[in-house]
């Protein structure tokens, strides 16, 4: 069985120059994580793809130039890069275009991990099986994206209670859908 290189080994190999296999492995490993981060913070698949491209290019450039002094902290470095990019409200198109022009061809094609498919009819049945308050919390949370205090006001309970109801409802839904809780 082939053992995957550690993060630190990847950093060292990329820093030594010209190791395309290590760069491809870096991308395979980190791209899905960056994409998830982007989806969560930007709430938009296209924006998440933009973040993915820019964050991976920035990481690649940094590693090629040997700028990551603690190779074992690769994941923290990529996360920090993502945070800076999201918090900084973009760094402007010029830097991105410069990176893309210089290194864009080096990026492997982005392949998204498969999105789990849910049976809509089964979910409907599972939602019907929930208690009234659980159903309201789940719908308000995921459809309406209401804050805990809004949901608490609607239900006439505390925010802590909303959290308990939400957790229980999600667990029951996942069990009903046949996904491990």
């Amino acid at each position: 069985m082939e053992i995957a290189p550690t993060d630190a080994e990847l950093v060292v190999r990329i820093g030594s120059g010209g190791d395309r296999e290590a760069e491809a492995e870096l991308y395979r490993r980190m791209a899905p994580r960056v994409r998830l981060y982007g989806l969560r913070h930007l709430r938009d698949a296209a924006a998440a793809e933009d973040l993915l491209q820019e964050a991976m290019l920035t990481t690649l450039v940094a590693l090629r130039k040997g700028r990551l002094r603690e190779p074992e902290k690769l994941a923290s470095f990529v996360l920090g890069t993502c945070r800076l990019m999201v918090w900084g409200e973009r760094r402007g198109a010029s830097r991105k275009e410069m990176l893309l022009e210089e290194f864009g061809a080096d990026l492997p094609a982005a392949s998204a991990p498969p999105t789990p498919l849910l049976d809509g009819e089964r979910l409907l049945q599972c939602l019907r099986n929930l208690k009234e308050r659980e159903r309201s919390v789940v719908v308000m949370t995921f459809y309406d994206e209401r804050s805990g205090s809004d949901v608490a006001g609607f239900l006439g309970v505390s925010e802590a209670n909303v959290r308990v109801i939400r957790h229980r409802a999600i667990q029951r839904l996942r069990e009903c859908l046949g996904v491990e809780a």
Partner: protein
């Protein structure tokens, strides 16, 4: 490699909806950047959230809703057919092909109720289903019930009676109101 400290789906859902506090959010993000197993679980939570959103937009769920929900569906361009009813009222109602959601607003004095049930009865008043312990906001003057629009579009002309029942802290039952809806089928 198996994750040694997996993050459960409920906590990941908190993270997804921005309900995790700062330190917990940071810890979850750091974990997700080192653990694909939990990343997969987060993708499942996101898929669940997307599917719930789709189901809610289809209007197929019978559930108690609030004004915030109704404002949101209006923003989404969905057409809501609403019927308002006071205790003792009898309402003529229908749905058309253009309607996306169906909501009944039941006026009631909810003060002092520790728990409220909504009883759904046939035209003879025989209970067919009871929605127990429905969410009601303190001080609210009505309950808004979303009926399944898919069911309403396919059902024949018929009469349905709804009853709101309150329970106080001692478990004593009190009728809040009875509402009669005469549904006329308008779709072929």
């Amino acid at each position: 490699m198996s994750c040694r400290s997996p993050i459960d789906a409920a906590r990941l859902a908190d993270y997804w909806i921005f309900a995790a506090n700062g330190p917990d959010e940071d810890a979850i993000e750091e974990h997700l950047f080192a653990c694909d197993e939990c990343g997969t679980r987060l993708r499942e939570v996101i898929a669940l959230a997307d599917a719930v959103r789709r189901v809610a937009r289809e209007g197929s769920l019978r559930m108690i809703v609030g004004d915030a929900f109704l404002r949101r569906v209006a923003q989404d361009g969905l057409r809501v057919r609403e019927y308002a009813s006071a205790p003792g009222d009898s309402v003529q109602c229908t749905v058309t092909a253009d309607d996306d959601l169906l909501v009944s607003r039941l006026a009631a004095d909810l003060s002092g109720a520790a728990r409220v049930d909504l009883s759904l009865c046939d035209e003879r008043g025989v209970e067919q289903q009871r929605l127990e312990d429905i969410p009601v906001r303190a001080g609210a003057a009505e309950v808004a019930l979303q009926e399944s629009i898919t069911r309403a579009k396919s059902m024949p002309s018929e009469t349905m009676i709804m009853r709101l029942v309150a329970f106080d802290d001692a478990g004593r039952e009190r009728a809040l109101g009875e509402y009669t809806f005469h549904h006329t089928r308008s779709m072929p």
